[in-house]
């Protein structure tokens, strides 16, 4: 039994309407409070109202046809669903499987060193955790998925987060916290054994490479042929360097101050970009093609990986956090004020035919693959294990931070979807179909969109496309694939209407592009660095010197290998005759969902080992959905005879054409281009096989481990020894009345440790 984990005998549960105080030391006030509310008529009425409002929202989204749907209903339906899921489902998970015990000290309290282990105020940690998990994925995925109409995407973003994404984040956070903040890789090795653990490690490294490459590809597509974008993004590097120097030599620790300065400089950079792009020399100097930008990003990634953190990476991260939270708030306010009208239908034909121009494949499984991060993101498991669990004050706070944090992320995805579906349909398809389809010019793109019929909004003229581009200060918007430009146009539309007639649309477009590029570049440089460390660690088995992170040649060699790996995939995507994003984005989604399968497998195995097998369906159902989705998508990518869908079918088509002596096929108009298609599809096909193989290995080992522990009946797990807690903090963002009373009691107890930072007397911020 897990008796060693129980500090005080029993597990007292409060009665309805009552509370139980949890104590570890008679000399100290209670270290935890378990409250159980009573269902008062007012509370019941409130929750019924939330449910009804959410129901109205969903009915309007799902059932109303042919009328103009106000996008605000998407926000209402999503928020009401989140509230109900948080109140009821996450509570259920807490009570059945998580069972937090606030008498146990968290790793932050036990190993408090004032740095990476440090009890951090829950509201602050919520902000940190959200800033770490929110990235470009949930912004881009829903935009691409909009080609199937608004309903499938909205449903999966909201339902998926409730049953899968937030559950994964919550459980991984809690399990890692109980294990001293161990990383996902370490937990996989401990819980799944050597084979499962190694598969998980390989998966993590390959996924990092794919994710960095695809994100970089999105930036390249957003900046290509855009002198305005290139100029302002390029300026972020000197701005970051300036901030780094300022923080190191002028005013150490003044992070907010320097971020505000950086922010002002950033806005100036965007404005200046507009001026520069209008001059002849500016347009000439800053209009770069995709290949040049890709090489610049590769060089940047390498530099960021070997330069000191304080000089480039840390200040960039501050800037990115600032922009992230600010812009998301701005967009939320914009949607509420402007209340844009939805242009996309609930479903388009592409949901069923699988022949969508943005990416190939039918609703199942490719909707799930494409949305990925907004509903279930395996990458979050890397944040939920390792960083955040070392900072939690109390065990019961994992619910708001893990589950609640992911609900916020899903909300960002809903807003991104709203920005995309309120865009003119014809513009959406002209922007998101690859140049292979649109032909790349406004005239040919207009013809292409018109050929889509009603789905494409009943046609468009070349002039209208040119006007749309001119409105946002761009030369052209045709085939600006990758989702970022589409989101930027959508955001510009919404923000421009807040101050109608201000003529700031081009500014907002470039503001949004800047915001996304900052996000992505932060992930690119941080990711390159993390992957470099993982690689060094592995290379350390061959040559011990690699283990030493300050051994410069080792850092250089590992950085070059990592950058070459993602740089190669990036260049492949940039030069791909068939489009790039439409072929690579599914790999990105599959990789991300694979990592989620690893995380959920670990959760299932842990529950079975803890003797909680009857609740194993809580992570088990999302794991099953994820496995079916990932494996079906992989199978289609590997075995489908349709060239647009199957990598190997495409490969065979082009190989045969080459063998037959043909010199052009489809979008590949030269022999070199045809050879590129053969090479790219071979690499993509091989990666698909690798991913599918890894998923099968990880899930199989998890099943074996789980069955073995259910059969043997002996509960065992790898949790750390329980240590009695000596601090108190409220469970959720807002403290209850009794929790405030306890906080006051702690403050009044002489010599009692403070819940924040391990020092007494820090009361500001608490108790409002």
């Amino acid at each position: 039994m897990t008796s060693r984990n129980t500090l005080v005998l029993g597990d007292p549960q409060p009665e309805r309407g009552g509370a139980v105080e949890l104590r570890t030391d008679p000399a100290l006030p209670p270290v935890g409070l378990r409250e159980r509310g009573r269902w008062t008529p007012l509370k019941i009425a409130l929750w019924v109202a939330v449910a009804v409002l959410g129901g109205i929202g969903w009915s309007i989204i799902g059932l109303v046809r042919g009328d103009e749907v106000n996008a605000l209903w998407f926000v209402v339906a999503a928020v009401c669903t989140y509230l109900i899921a948080y109140r009821f489902y996450s509570k259920f998970i807490e009570r059945t499987v998580v069972r937090p015990d606030d008498r146990r000290a968290t790793p932050a309290e036990v190993q408090n060193n004032g740095k990476d282990f440090e009890p951090t105020d829950r509201r602050v940690l919520f902000g940190h955790h959200f800033a770490a998990i929110a990235g470009a994925g949930p912004l881009v995925g829903p935009v691409l998925a909009a080609q199937m109409g608004y309903l499938p995407g909205t449903l999966w973003i909201v339902v998926g987060v409730v049953i899968a994404g937030a559950v994964q984040d919550y459980l991984v956070l809690f399990f890692s916290m109980r294990r001293g903040g161990r990383s996902l890789g370490q937990m996989a090795r401990e819980e799944l054994g050597v084979i499962g653990g190694t598969a998980a490690l390989v998966a993590t490294m390959v996924i990092m490479v794919i994710i960095i490459a695809v994100l970089a590809l999105i930036v390249v597509n957003a900046l290509a042929e855009s002198p305005w974008g290139i100029f302002s993004i390029a300026l972020t590097i000197p701005i970051a360097l300036f901030m780094g120097v300022y923080l190191r030599f002028l005013r150490p620790g003044k992070v907010t101050e320097v971020s505000l300065i950086g922010m002002v400089l950033l806005i100036l950079a965007i404005v200046a970009g507009g001026w520069v792009s209008e001059t002849e020399w500016g347009a000439a100097a800053f209009t770069l093609d995709k290949v040049t930008i890709a090489w610049a990003l590769i060089a940047y990634g390498f530099l960021a990986s070997v330069l000191p953190v304080w000089l480039l990476l840390a200040p960039r991260d501050y800037l990115s956090t600032f922009m992230k939270i600010g812009t998301i708030l701005l967009l939320a306010v914009g949607i509420v004020i402007v209340q844009p009208v939805v242009q996309m239908p609930a479903f388009t034909e592409f949901a069923f035919t699988g022949q969508g121009p943005v990416f190939a494949g039918a609703l199942f499984p490719f909707l799930f693959i494409t949305i990925a991060c907004g509903a279930l993101s395996g990458f979050h498991a890397l944040i939920s294990s390792g960083t955040t669990p070392k900072l939690i004050q109390k065990e019961s706070q994992t619910r708001i931070i893990g589950y609640g944090g992911m609900l916020m992320e899903s909300f960002v995805a809903v807003m991104a979807l709203v920005a995309a579906i309120t865009l003119d349909k014809s513009l959406y398809f002209a922007m998101n179909a690859s140049a292979a389809l649109t032909g790349g010019t406004a005239e040919t793109a207009a013809q292409y969109v018109t050929s889509l019929g009603a789905t494409g909004g009943d046609g468009v003229t070349a002039d209208a496309l040119n006007q749309a581009a001119a409105d946002v200060g761009e030369e052209s918007l045709v085939s600006r694939t990758g989702g970022a430009p589409t989101l930027a146009v959508g955001m510009a539309n919404i923000l421009d209407q807040i101050w109608a007639g201000s003529g700031l649309k081009a500014f907002w477009y470039h503001f949004a592009i800047m915001f996304e590029a900052l996000f992505i570049l932060t992930t690119v440089d941080a990711g390159t660095r993390v992957a470099r460390f993982m690689l060094s660690d592995t290379l350390g088995n061959v040559d011990r010197r690699f283990r030493n992170p300050s051994w410069r040649p080792g850092a250089w060699i590992a950085s070059i290998i990592v950058v070459a790996a993602w740089g190669g995939v990036l260049l492949m995507g940039v030069t791909d005759p068939l489009g790039g994003i439409n072929t690579l984005f599914p790999l990105f989604g599959i990789a991300n969902q694979l990592l989620a399968a690893v995380a959920l497998s670990v959760c299932v195995a842990i529950l079975c080992k803890k003797g909680l097998a009857r609740w194993a369906w809580i992570p088990g159902v999302p794991l099953a959905i994820d496995a079916v989705v990932t494996l079906t998508a992989s199978a289609q990518k590997i075995f489908s005879p349709v060239p647009a869908l199957g990598y190997w079918a495409q490969n065979a088509t082009y190989s045969q054409a080459l063998a037959a002596g043909e010199t052009s096929l489809g979008a590949a108009t030269t022999v070199t281009a045809m050879e590129a298609v053969v090479r790219n599809t071979a690499i993509q096909g091989t990666l698909s096989i690798l991913f599918a193989g890894l998923v099968i290995i990880v899930i199989a080992t998890a099943v074996v481990v789980s069955i073995r522990s259910i059969r043997s009946g002996s509960a065992s797990d790898n949790e750390e020894e329980a240590v009695p807690s000596r601090i108190f903090a409220p469970r959720s963002l807002v403290a209850s009345k009794r929790e405030r009373e306890l906080e006051a009691q702690w403050a009044a107890t002489p010599g009692a440790p403070s819940a924040i930072g391990g020092a007494h007397g820090n009361r500001h911020g608490s108790g409002h």
């Binding site: 740095k115 602050v124 000191p308 840390a314 990711g527």
Partner: protein, 66 residues
């Protein structure tokens, strides 16, 4: 509570939150931690603390999400 008092209180709360989330308060918290947990231990200056902080970040990078 008067309106100005409430306004002042909200402003304090916002300032507290921004300083905590961005990291301005990191050094103060560290010093308080040292005084509470290791009384008598040498307290680094703010400059030294941040140099040390970035050196540690250099050795164990944190990841950012996609």
């Amino acid at each position: 509570m008067t309106a100005t008092a409430m306004l002042a209180r909200s402003a304090r709360a916002v300032r507290w939150y921004v300083r905590e989330v961005m990291g301005d308060a990191k050094y103060e918290r560290y010093v308080r931690h040292l005084q509470a947990a290791h009384p008598g231990a040498p307290v680094p200056t703010e400059r030294e603390f941040w140099r040390q902080h970035y050196a540690e970040q250099e050795a164990s990078p944190g990841t950012r999400c996609c």
